[in-house]
Amino acid sequence: MIARAIPLALAVLASVSVAHAQDFASAAPPWPRGAAGPLLEDGLPRAGPLVALDATVTRWFGLHTLETRSLACAARFRSVIVAAGVSQTGGPEVGWTAAGFAIGAVRQGGGVALRGVARRDRLTSFAFDGDARTAGGEVGAGAWAEVAGGVQLWASAPQLWREGAAPPLGRALALGLAWEGSNAAAWLARRAVTGVSGARSGEHEAGLTLGGSRLAFWCAARDRPLRASLGVSAGLQGVRSAVALDSHPVLAETSRLTFSLARGGDP
């Protein structure tokens, strides 16, 4: 049952809508960004905490047998930031394990990072010893820079280079603009779509975050087909939790729960 569910879900996902994130997706709002998981996911570093830890559980399309559990940590020393993480998706024998690493530089006016993920099928719950032919990896980069007045230009190409077994989902170039105010943020994004038949060549996203570091609500809408995401996050003194829901035109919602710790700098 599980063996059928995972390929089916991924096939539907790939053919109907594009997943923006995979192994280290976080429930934090897309903007302002989370610290550790989003850096591993998109290569977009945040000039925030000196040390951060993200633990996320993602249940894809309401399937309790298709879950991603990830743990990511990041540390920043002056302008150099590094992150590492591990993630598991699916149950034993049919799932995979992923290890991610990112390194970059970030300041108040912008940042750039290189990120990479290696994946391999697994046979038991915590093993990293599946068939070697199922191993694969990807390397990408992301960058953002402030244009003017709190408006930031960002771009992420998470799979510039791929080797070995193809990743579960292809992720092409994403470009966007984001605006950050004191208690609000908004963003526009366009994600290219390649390798999908038909006239669809990209999808667009618009989103809004209201609130601050203690309590924030965010929502986003994507086209082709029209979908929505909602999220809420709450935090106190460096401890933060967030929940997010992504709708899907065919399957049930994807839900994410993230628990974060941050220390030093701006949480």
Partner: protein, 467 residues
């Protein structure tokens, strides 16, 4: 240290000026459909400069192509020479002052008047950039130099004299021209092809040329430029016989065309526009409307948005005559010291407002200085181009601009590293394509170039890095 960092940012930002203020780069009419196109980069040497360059490129597991070049410029002597297997820019010329005139031996690359009779006329669908400074990358005309060889003489004074003789397109030819004030008259005789005459009138604001041959075929072009307050308007009108061909079998352009272009400041923005109509012969015509709004922002950031409508064909024969294409493009550059990020997106559709997309491309360009004078650049493009259409991606090198032709659905990534080595700069590039259903080997290139001064003199344009 801070000054050095600022200089690095400025240099990198200047290099992005090409990207953010670029018009849509499309190859000229004589470029083969769907094939890469190579043209000379707009660069010039100052007096006393000597430039050497070595380059090699190839694909993984494929043959290696080597290129060598040398350029020099002095008061009395200047020249350039390129050589390499299958190099479309191969060859060169040497010029020397002799008895008050300039004698050139090698490639015949002169241009008379508007280039109708000799030298190559401009495509009406491309901006003329007549006002751009010499060396400005916007002056790039995407016209390859002639492949012929010969001797040319140019002498100034109250009565200017130009003469040339050589072999071009497998035909011997010779010609001469006299210039007095704004007027010029000349003729070129080709073996087995007859004579081509040229009458030209050139001033700062107006340029006109009438070209004709012995069979009564003719072509004429008028360029009028006018400043209206802070704005500038240029008008190009061309008319003549559809069967007229310039001397030397050089590139053909539409013999009938009208192009109006201009730029003007509008508050904090700059506005540029181009409208062009052309006609090759019955049933083969085309048009282009291009609008662009750009804004320079603080810290070398910039934004540009453009709208395009195109239809028809840019070739005298062959290829497809397309219906109306509407599209828009946007570019944005942001500088986060010391990193420069530029993104671009363009979409062209077969229906109004770019619907029913036939060409979509998103690009990311990231420049970052590294320690010890190194710097890195990553360019990534994700594209989807319908069959029969082509997307051209510019890949600049120190002496040339390569337009890579892409079609289908895929992604292209190019990684460049530049470093100061052996008194010059080494540039190493690696590019790979991820095209669905096709496998292609990564393409690599290594280039070393050094520019040196042989005597005291005014500094050459720009820095070595910007060149």
């Amino acid at each position: 240290m801070k000054l050095r960092a600022c200089a690095c940012v400025l240099i990198v930002a200047c290099s992005f000026a090409v990207a953010v203020h670029a018009d849509l780069i499309e190859p000229p009419a004589d470029a083969a459909e769907g094939e890469d196109f190579v043209t000379e980069s707009a660069d010039s040497l100052a007096d006393g400069d000597v430039e050497l360059g070595l380059a090699a490129e190839g694909r993984s597991g494929g043959a290696i192509r080597q290129r060598r070049r040398v350029r020099l410029r002095d008061e009395d002597l200047d020249g350039a020479w390129r050589e390499g297997r299958d190099d479309p820019l191969g060859g060169g010329a040497l010029r020397r002052t002799v008895a008050g005139g300039r004698v050139s031996v090698g490639r015949l690359a002169t241009r008379w008047g508007r280039g109708l009779a000799w030298g190559g006329a401009r495509d009406p669908w491309q901006r003329s950039h007549e006002r751009a400074d010499p060396g400005d990358v916007r002056r790039l005309t995407l016209i390859r130099p002639a492949s012929g060889q010969g001797v040319a003489l140019e002498r100034g004074g109250a009565l200017g004299v130009e003469a040339l003789a050589g072999r071009i397109a497998k035909r011997e030819m010779a010609g001469g021209r006299l210039r007095r004030g704004p007027l010029a008259a000349g003729a070129i005789v080709e073996r087995d092809a007859g004579a081509t005459g040229s009458l030209a009138f050139v001033t700062d604001a107006d340029q006109a040329e009438l070209a004709f041959d012995g069979h009564g075929r003719w072509n004429a072009e008028l360029l009028h430029e006018r400043a209206v307050g802070p704005a500038w308007i240029g008008t190009r009108v061309r008319g003549g016989s559809a069967s007229f061909r310039p001397a030397g079998g050089r590139r053909t352009v539409p013999t009938r065309s009208l192009a109006v272009e201009g730029d003007a400041p509008a508050g904090a923005f700059g506005v540029r526009a181009l409208g062009a109509l052309w006609r090759w012969n019955a049933g083969r015509a085309g048009g282009r409307l291009a609008l662009e709004v750009n804004r320079e922002m603080a810290h070398h950031s910039a934004l540009a948005l453009g709208f395009e409508e195109q239809h028809g064909t840019r070739r005298p024969s062959g290829g497809r005559v397309t219906g109306v294409r509407q599209g828009w493009w946007g570019e944005c550059r942001a500088v986060a010291d010391p990193v420069v990020l530029a993104v671009r997106h363009e979409v062209f559709g077969a229906r109004s407002f770019a619907r029913e997309a036939v060409r979509t491309a998103s690009s990311l360009q990231l420049d970052a200085p590294l320690p010890a004078g190194w710097d890195a650049r990553v360019v990534h493009t994700s594209y989807r181009v319908r069959r029969g259409e082509s997307l051209y991606l510019p890949e600049p090198a120190s002496d040339r601009l390569v337009l890579r032709a892409l079609t289908g659905d895929g992604e292209r990534t190019r990684l460049e590293l530049r470093a100061p080595i052996a008194g010059g700069r080494v540039s190493a590039g690696l590019a790979w394509d991820d095209t669905r259903g096709r496998t292609s080997q990564p393409r690599w290139s290594v280039e070393w170039a050094r520019r040196a001064r042989t005597k005291r003199g005014p500094p050459s344009r720009g820095t070595e890095e910007t060149r």
